[in-house]
Amino acid sequence: MKKVQLIKIAHARSGDKGDASNVGLIARKAEYYPILREKVTPEAVKKHFAGICRGKVDRYELPNLCALNFLLREALGGGGTVSLRNDAQGKTMSTALLRMEIEVPDDLAISG
């Protein structure tokens, strides 16, 4: 197994839903989707966002788009209009998730 940062095998977009941040994680190639599905669990994401996400993490699968959708509850300092954060709407939570490292098989070719 080797370690790979999610940004190499996925792209993402994030935004806000009240005090929850939504992060959509999309496999850069269809063959990466099962790996994302296996490794990027709600527990792993909650752990990754320690100190940012105070609530629970829900995960939804969109196999048709080779994508996962995460809802990070209590992650935006009270939400869009109350939040004092520079990123009150969670626009950069996408790349915060893409910092995460996961283990992948040694023979997985990474490109694109």
Partner: protein, 456 residues
């Protein structure tokens, strides 16, 4: 009237403050049948409600008038219909202002439709007394807890009342609080005669609406996968939905414009601000985002098809805003060397001075721009920063405490760590916190009103 083979619905604004030239580009750079523009964010209604309380002729998106002034001749010449929720809390006043523009331009017979009935601010006490608690969808609390601080309350209506206004011949439809997706779905209902039971087709229109509702964000803007290779963003073409009667939609943009429409740009937008993808709830239908198929059908052309939907719920969402204290935000820039260390020391000094003066806050939030304001504790410590911006922010119920915070910031320049600048904006002033209260209301309790008027 013979049914059209397809219609082109163009997104002109993704939010109030979006690219001002986009609406004109959409009606002038290529064929368009409908122009849809979203102006309302969650707290916009409370700002508009305040404006209306000061002047009964205000309370709508004033920028819309500038757009209409610019595009009116061309939409009349090409018979392009305009649909927008820029009517805010006063679509009738917005209509009158547009009629005034048309009158000055010598236009006769212009038909404008307004959709209202969404504003339930004046009915809140009556609803509460009748036992409708309008509970907060997130916390479960009764609206009574913030009733005395409530600033606006609007029901999200959908596409059907807009389609009704189109049926009555409106050239421009102005709504109050309508869903962003409904603006795009409405012309499909109108042109193709879809009914409230055409769940899959309605869901297709909703998905098209979701793709269009943030303007350029589906046509190459904010595209994370490969932003460097998006051509000519300066002239970005906003997305256009080419809708067909069977519910198939092609997303495209005008020829010769910049930006990019690809399966990947559409995927990123589909995942934007959604919850459970199998249950995308709108007033018309529940759309299943896990049924969406995408296929690159040409250059800057994506086919969106096979979408499934199921019957809508029996309630509307209500968006309410209430006053919740004050906040202030201030920044100072610290230069090399030891920029971060100096900014951290300044933050500490400021906190101590305010504490010594006895001020308390619900929240005192510090970030260091250039180091951690985006990713917080996930940000690796850089070896050395050339400069860093200290950003401090406070929130609380006591306006005086917030004001005191403002008075303590700039003095740090001469009474704190060295080489600090960027205080040109002066003392940060207290601002109102407007908090959001989402709730549900039975569809029986809120009925849209549609009114189409011709300019005499």
């Amino acid at each position: 009237m013979k049914q059209k083979e397809f219609i082109r619905i163009a997104s002109g604004q993704g939010y109030w403050g979006d690219l001002p030239q986009a609406p004109y580009w959409q009606v002038s750079k290529g064929p368009t049948d409908y122009l849809v523009m979203d102006y309302l964010a969650e707290v916009t209604m409370s700002i508009l409600q305040k404006q209306k309380s000061r002047d009964p002729k205000l309370g709508y998106a004033k920028d819309l008038l500038l757009v209409i002034e610019q595009i009116l001749p061309i939409i009349l010449e090409k018979n392009i219909k305009v649909i927008t929720n820029g009517g805010g809390v006063n679509p009738q006043a917005c209509r009158d202002a547009i009629f005034e523009i048309a009158r000055k331009a010598g236009v006769k017979g212009l038909k404008i439709g307004v959709v209202y009935g969404d504003d339930i601010y004046g009915r809140i006490d009556q609803l509460l007394e009748a036992g409708h608690d309008l509970k907060n969808m997130d916390t479960g609390e009764s609206l009574r807890t913030v009733r005395d601080r409530l600033q606006s309350a609007n029901v999200y209506f959908g596409a059907f009342p807009i389609a009704d206004a189109l049926r009555q011949g409106a050239q421009i439809v102005l709504t109050g609080r309508a869903t962003d997706t409904g603006l795009t779905l409405a012309p499909m209902i109108h042109e193709f005669g879809w009914s409230e039971r055409d769940y899959d087709k309605l869901a297709a229109g909703i998905v098209a609406g979701h793709i269009l509702e943030c303007g350029g964000q589906s046509s190459g803007g904010n595209f994370l996968k490969d932003w460097r290779n998006v051509p000519d963003l300066a002239n970005i073409g906003f997305p256009i939905a080419e809708a067909h009667p069977d519910g198939t939609v092609y997303i495209t943009k005008h020829d010769g414009t910049g930006g990019l429409v690809s399966v990947d740009t559409i995927k990123e937008q589909l995942l934007y601000e959604i919850g459970d993808p199998r249950e995308y709830i709108t007033p018309e239908v529940i759309a299943d985002f896990t049924s969406i198929n995408l296929e690159q059908a040409g250059e800057n052309r994506v086919r969106v098809f096979d979408i499934k939907g199921k019957p809508a719920t029996d309630s509307y969402k209500v968006s309410m805003a209430y006053s919740d204290g004050f906040y202030a935000i201030g920044t100072l820039t610290y230069g090399w060397p030891d920029a971060l260390e100096k900014a951290q020391a300044a933050d500490k000094i400021m906190r101590q001075r305010l504490e010594d003066l006895g001020y308390k806050y619900d929240e005192f939030h510090t970030e260091f721009l250039g180091y951690n304001s985006c990713h917080g504790p996930l940000s690796p410590m850089p070896s050395e920063l050339n400069e860093v911006v200290l950003r401090v922010a406070v929130r609380g119920k006591d306006r005086e405490a917030i004001d005191a915070f403002g008075r303590q910031l700039v003095p740090l320049v001469l009474t704190g760590p060295p080489t600090v600048t960027g205080f040109g904006a002066g003392r940060p002033k207290p601002q109102d916190v407007v908090a959001y209260w989402p709730a549900l209301i039975s569809k029986e309790l809120a009925k849209p009103v549609v009114e189409v008027t011709a300019l005499k």
